[in-house]
């Protein structure tokens, strides 16, 4: 078995066993991304599916244009909770402070 397969198997087994020490590590990682550090589901869908996943033309209130450091050009960003914004360019996913 590869290391990747072993990890997948062990983490799946963990879902059953709920071993306390490993669960503590998992909870700590997830809590790091549970509020301000975490993207909402729409943003994850946006990154996974690209700009085509969202109709940027009909919902302009949720989008603003900013300079994207990763794309090195002006791009349309989706506004997220907490004033953050994410680049809608497929495969980019650059997050900035959109305030």
């Amino acid at each position: 078995m590869s290391t990747e397969s072993k990890l997948k198997s062990l983490f799946d087994f963990q879902r059953f066993e709920q071993e306390s020490k490993l669960q503590g590590v998992i909870d700590e990682v997830n809590s790091s991304y549970s509020s301000g550090n975490r993207l909402d589901d729409d943003a994850l869908e946006l990154v996974a599916g690209g700009a085509g996943a969202v109709n940027t033309d009909t919902d302009n209130a949720m989008f603003r244009e900013f300079y994207c450091e990763k794309c090195r050009t002006i791009r349309k960003f989706k506004m997220l909770s907490g004033g953050r914004a994410i680049c809608t360019q497929p495969g980019c996913g650059n997050m900035i402070d959109g305030k």
Binding site: M1, S9, L10, F13, R15, V25, L44, G91
Partner: protein, 173 residues
């Protein structure tokens, strides 16, 4: 441990695991009942020398979930973590190994640990990990690869981890 004790001790774990994998609550309840029917039917065949009770019941449960997806052809995709047909080392699936994995994860850098947990436990793609963590995609891949290298040593250093008797998880179907 008799069958009634097994039911009392493992019912909640089995149901929680199935509910985590199958969204329809009625299907989950039905599958949980099926699992305990199989456990009851095969209890006399269970060999404690080969696997702990917990591992045995987990493998029956996991295979029941896989069969549910295959037989009912539900629209949801089978979770990648359990989709592989690769044989699983029963020696690997022990509670102690989970504790040791926790220790190994704590020896990684914070970024490496985050990438491993988000990718392998939460099931996010590396692209989704990028979005979740704010790290660049290149960094996510670097952290993933360096963490895998370190964990490879963890798995190979400990003869007890992954070095036990290979027992196909399919035999508990």
């Amino acid at each position: 441990m008799d069958i009634e004790q097994v039911y009392r001790e493992y019912h909640d774990k089995v149901l929680a695991y199935i509910r985590n994998r199958i969204s329809n609550p009625e299907d989950a309840e039905d599958l949980c009942a099926d699992v305990f029917l199989k456990v009851q039917q095969r209890f006399s065949e269970y060999d404690r020398e080969k696997a702990a009770v917990s591992t045995w019941i987990y493998t029956i449960t996991r295979n029941a979930v896989i069969d549910h997806y295959r037989v009912s052809r539900v629209s949801e995709e089978l979770p990648e973590e359990i989709a592989s047909d690769e044989e699983i080392d029963a020696g690997l699936l022990q509670r102690e190994t989970l504790s040791e994995l926790a220790d190994a994860l704590m020896k990684l850098s914070e970024e490496e640990r985050n990438v491993i947990v988000l990718h392998y436990y939460n099931g996010l793609s590396l692209r989704e990990v990028e979005a979740r963590t704010g790290l660049s995609y290149g960094k996510v891949k670097l952290r993933h690869n360096s963490a895998i290298d370190k964990l490879k040593k963890f798995f190979s250093d400990d003869a007890a981890i992954g070095g036990g008797n290979i027992v196909s998880i399919n035999r508990y179907r």
